[in-house]
């Protein structure tokens, strides 16, 4: 309407991470903070393990594999969440979309196996479950992009809807899957590496590519930093947001399928405790909740930090409740570092 406010107001986005190779040392360290956390944690547990049990923690392949399996579902949710948070939004419905997909996958695979045979039924069930997971994502996208509902509220509504539908479809219990191929997928290995870890790693690579190398990813950063600028540059924000939340649904859908494979059962509450872990992984990984910054590899580190804390505390026989406390502390420290970094990179370079 009248004049726009001067440019000096408001928050300054910290840098996105892909294009800029010449950052200051402080920024580099801040960007790597999740990996540094991870290294420190591993060293800590290693020392504890050697002094308390006289054995190694991290050089034990069993531990590494367990941590990786632990990290699969939270990481899949967190990759989608990374995109959403960079755009300046949040997706609270992912946990129950994951549950919904797990239940759908279980039902469809059971139903299809007699006619299609086990492997085809698994493929078919996976596709159907991911497709179904796209529906709540699509609705989230419509709410946020067309109806201008704040993401926090819109996806909170979808949290409830997906939860209810998932429990209804599951009949209030878990849905066991009888399918040897699916069980092998969920628990088998290839060259010693669990299949679900391989699938997750490949998927995460694709997501990294989309975020760092495509227009979609570039626009996602721009929208998160300055939506008005993105609109003026001719970016179709509505279309972008719609596709963004669908992508987030796909991530949750895949997480649900892999959950069902691992436990050979679909459960509506499969992702219930994972939503917070996924947001935590993104934040620990260096993304800003204000939008505009973050990377997939940062999120990978964030998810591993959480998995190492959870598994490591069990490993050293500490009461499990310490997990919550330590993850909480790490989240708070990460946000504090983010704010310090924002203050530093907010200072303009003089000529």
């Amino acid at each position: 309407m009248n004049e726009a406010p001067p440019a000096s107001s408001g928050h300054v986005s910290p840098p996105a991470d892909h294009a800029d190779k010449s950052r200051t040392l402080v920024q580099r360290i801040a960007d790597l903070r999740a990996w540094l956390f991870l290294a420190a944690l591993v060293v800590g547990f290693e020392i504890w393990s050697r002094t308390a049990f006289g054995g190694t923690f991290i050089f034990n392949p069993f531990n590494i594999t367990s941590i990786a399996i632990f990290a699969v579902a939270p990481l899949l949710l967190a990759t989608g969440q990374t995109f959403v948070i960079i755009s300046g939004g949040i997706d609270l419905s992912m946990g129950f979309i994951m549950g919904l997909a797990a239940v759908v996958a279980a039902h469809v695979i059971n139903w299809a196996a007699p006619t299609m045979g086990e492997p085809m039924a698994v493929l078919f069930g996976t596709l159907v479950a991911v497709a179904i997971a796209m529906i709540p994502g699509f609705v989230n996208g419509l709410l946020v992009s067309r109806l201008r509902v704040p993401p926090f509220i819109g996806t909170l509504g979808m949290f409830g809807v997906a939860r209810g539908v998932a429990f209804l479809l599951a009949g209030g219990t878990t849905v066991p899957v009888k399918n040897g191929f699916f069980a092998a997928l969920g628990n088998g290995r290839f060259l010693g590496i669990p299949w679900i870890v391989i699938i997750t790693a490949l998927f995460v690579l694709v997501m990294h590519y989309i975020l760092s190398q495509t227009r979609f990813g570039q626009h996602n950063y721009a929208i998160g930093a300055n939506e008005q600028a993105a609109r003026r540059a001719g970016i179709d924000i509505k279309r972008h947001l719609l596709r963004l939340y669908i992508l987030s649904g796909i991530c949750a859908g895949l997480a649900g399928v892999l959950y069902a494979a691992r436990f050979t059962a679909g459960a509506a509450q499969a992702g219930e405790p994972l939503l917070l872990d996924s947001v935590a992984a993104v934040v620990i990984g260096g993304a800003s909740l204000f939008g505009g910054s973050g990377t997939i590899f940062g999120t990978v580190a964030g998810a591993l930090v959480i998995a190492v804390i959870q598994y490591g505390l069990v490993f050293i026989n500490v009461e499990p409740f310490w997990q919550f406390i330590s993850v909480g502390v790490v989240i708070i420290i990460s946000v504090l570092i983010d704010q310090a970094q924002r203050r530093i990179s907010g200072g303009r370079q003089s000529e």
């Binding site: 000096s8 930093a225 600028a229 303009r348």
Partner: protein
């Protein structure tokens, strides 16, 4: 061709309900000319440039580009025809590099390993380097996000984007308002560059010093109507102020 103005408005009016924000305004800009828009708050300066650049549809009157009538339904359309508006809040994505900002919304792609489409960051960086050099503006960190740069440098990025996409008419709403004095000088010299390149510039300013430093003509608005138009060489601060306040 040269006797035809680059951009012209004829009897342009715009009302918001009962509020007549702009009435019967005729003005023009020639190629290689800088025209300043002055006037008190609420005089209709912003309304005028928004009516030219496709943000508002004029209630009546015409906009002509190189003699041909145009009617833009969005700023994108105006931009595609070569009219670029540079807003006060700059419209940059702070977290992206200069090159990424220049290409925002129309990023160039290339192929990696011969098949995988990826953003062409080299092309973006090269364009950023050459465009900023064209504006005689040298930044040493081309890959850094623009949040690292000063206000004047960011203004240069916004102008550089327009220049890269070959805008013929640049419209700037108070380009120096948020800047310190040395930075204001930089922007003034940028406007000189644009003029030397044969582009037309319309800029709004409250700062008479800036206006007298860089423009060829001044158009003064008062309550939505033309209060006067002067060649800079034929007028004075005092006269302009009188036109602005009336009486």
């Amino acid at each position: 061709m040269s006797d035809q103005p680059l951009l012209e408005t004829r009897h342009l009016s715009k009302n918001f309900g009962p509020v007549q924000a702009l009435s019967d305004l005729s003005m023009h800009v020639n190629a290689g000319e800088v025209v300043a828009l002055a006037g008190d708050n609420g005089a209709g300066k912003t309304t005028l440039i928004k009516a030219i650049s496709g943000v508002y549809r004029p209630s009546s009157g015409q906009v002509l580009l190189k003699g041909r009538e145009v009617s833009f339904s969005s700023p994108q359309e105006a931009r595609e025809s070569g009219i670029e508006t540079i807003y006060q809040d700059l419209a940059l994505a702070d977290n992206l590099s200069i090159g990424a900002n220049i290409f925002l919304g129309r990023e160039p792609m290339t192929k990696k390993f011969g098949f995988l489409p990826v953003l062409d960051r080299k092309k973006m960086a090269d364009a950023a380097r050459s465009t900023m050099a064209l504006l005689d503006f040298h930044v040493n960190r081309l890959d850094a996000p623009v949040s690292n740069f000063s206000g004047g440098q960011r203004q240069a990025v916004a102008i550089g984007r327009a220049v890269y996409w070959n805008a013929q008419v640049l419209i700037m709403d108070e380009p120096t308002a948020a800047l310190g004095v040395p930075e204001q000088r930089k922007v003034i010299s940028l406007i000189h560059q644009l003029k030397a390149q044969g582009r037309g510039v319309i800029f709004i300013s409250h700062n008479l010093q800036d206006i007298f430093a860089v423009s060829d003509r001044i158009v003064v608005l008062r309550r939505g109507v033309m209060a006067g138009e002067r060649r800079i060489s034929d007028t004075s601060h005092d006269e302009v102020v009188k036109l602005m306040v009336g009486g």
